[in-house]
């Protein structure tokens, strides 16, 4: 299926950009007329994926983060977050709730948040070359909801 709209941005892995990424995705999603609840699901999920790039992918340097958004006629919103950082050696283990390689400030729940607030989460990663996380969320039209 061809997307009805798409957008791509790139920004450095500075923590100030976590908020920016959330706003960009919210603004893009507005094209599908989401409910406040749907937006409130999307924002933490995007925040988790972007924060992971900043904290884990580039632990000692500032690297590039790619954000690609696509929307489809059937209401699917697809958000792809890419980094070219350290990668994840074992994705399944990384996605286990409470698993973290971060310090004591990290809960190990980023992937759990993504999974509980999105319809689908896909992770592709290779140690040493980077990670791509794709979040899919169906924005159900308000019209059908109200009928």
């Amino acid at each position: 299926m061809k997307p009805v709209n798409e957008m791509r941005v790139q920004f450095p892995s500075r923590s100030i950009n976590e908020r920016l990424a959330r706003s960009v995705v919210s603004s893009f999603a507005a094209g599908l007329d989401p409910t406040l609840d749907e937006l409130a699901d999307l924002r933490p999920a995007v925040s988790e994926a972007v924060t992971n790039c900043i904290v884990h992918a580039y632990p000692d340097c500032i690297g590039k983060i790619g954000l690609q958004m696509r929307m489809y006629a059937n209401g699917r919103l697809s958000v792809k977050i890419s980094d070219w950082g350290v990668g994840i050696p074992d994705v399944q283990q990384a996605m286990t709730p409470l698993y973290t390689t971060g310090g004591e400030d990290r809960a190990g729940l980023g992937f759990s948040v993504m999974e509980s607030f999105c319809d689908k989460v896909r992770v592709r990663s290779k140690a040493g070359s980077g990670t791509v996380v794709t979040l899919d969320k169906y924005i159900r039209s308000r019209v059908t909801e109200e009928v």
């Binding site: 925040s47 400030d105 980023g110």
Partner: protein, 111 residues
């Protein structure tokens, strides 16, 4: 980071406002710990009624403060949680800790 807080009897209440993400969490942690370490309260109340956004960094913030107050056998209470924040805290299994409910949220004045 300025944080609104007050100590009453043995209870320290801290009010978190705005967004809690990885960017802002370090500031909240420093401010809360400054007050808590100084007061060593029997109960630390974290008031979330002014929070407009939170991701797992907020859960990390709560878990870390829980460990801190436990180091002097204190208690942690969370108040002012919206349904959404409560759902997020439940993901972390925080509902299995005695951090809310039991003492009743109403007993504590919110920000």
């Amino acid at each position: 980071m300025e944080i609104k807080s007050w100590l009453e009897d043995d209870t320290l209440t801290v009010c978190i406002t705005g967004e809690i993400d990885h960017h802002s969490a370090a500031g909240w942690r420093t401010s809360i710990d400054r007050e808590a370490v100084c007061a060593h309260p029997a109960v630390l109340v974290m008031d979330f009624s002014g929070v407009t956004f939170m991701d797992s960094s907020g859960i990390g913030l709560v878990m870390g403060r829980y460990r801190l107050v436990r180091s002097w056998e204190g208690e942690l209470l969370l108040t002012g949680l919206s349904d959404r924040l409560r759902k997020m805290m439940t993901l972390a299994g925080l509902d299995r800790l005695p951090v809310w409910g039991k003492k009743g949220e109403k007993k504590y004045e919110t920000c």
